[in-house]
């Protein structure tokens, strides 16, 4: 899983049958502090996330393992809306 920030929604009328009724979110990958990284994903929304939300995103074949995304042609899903991230331990070197 990776941290991401929802920066927009994809509006699409013509799409695969299995994507109908699913919200597509444009998500920018961020680090644990919310600082933006280079990569982005178009992800299916499984938790009613909205623009500006700090979320947890799952990618690859694992992304199909939710009730919302089962058997659909997708490779990224928003699985949680993050309330807080706490760093409690550091690894030297």
């Amino acid at each position: 899983m990776i941290f991401a920030k929802v920066i927009g929604t994809i509006v699409s009328t013509q799409k695969d049958e299995k994507l109908k009724g699913k919200k597509l979110l444009l998500c920018k990958e961020v680090d644990h502090e919310g600082k933006p990284l280079k990569s982005y994903h178009v992800a299916v929304d499984a938790v009613q996330a909205g623009e500006g939300n700090f979320v947890l995103l799952s990618y690859g074949s694992s992304a199909r393992m939710t009730e919302t995304t089962k058997d659909a042609p997708i490779d990224a899903v928003v699985i949680a809306i993050i309330d807080d991230v706490q760093i409690l331990h550091t690894v030297k070197s």
Binding site: M1, V47, L56, V77, I79, A80, H89, T90, S93
Partner: protein, 87 residues
């Protein structure tokens, strides 16, 4: 499977129901000697075995879902064992 050290906790009250009751941790992959290898990742703890500072064994990719009783969860990494010692 690889070794990692738990460095942080991710709190999320709203998540998909497949992950209900499952805690999420930030995990630093480490080498056998305990030094950092790759960049940190987020891992699920379906068996509730880890806490901050622990050295654990984790599994990635599609196989991560197998750590859940249901075998069905949208996770890229799961913690599957707590390391007591390497003998």
């Amino acid at each position: 499977m690889k070794l990692g050290i738990i460095t942080g906790v991710v709190w999320a009250s709203k998540k998909v129901k497949e992950l209900d009751g499952c805690r999420m941790f930030i995990l630093q992959p480490v080498a056998i000697n305990g030094s950092k290898t790759d960049s940190p990742l987020v891992a699920a703890d379906p068996k509730n075995i880890a806490s901050a500072g622990d050295r654990v064994v984790y599994v990635t990719s599609t196989d991560a879902a197998q750590a859940f009783d249901s075998g069905f969860a949208p996770v890229n990494a799961s913690i599957v064992a707590l390391v007591d010692e390497i003998a």
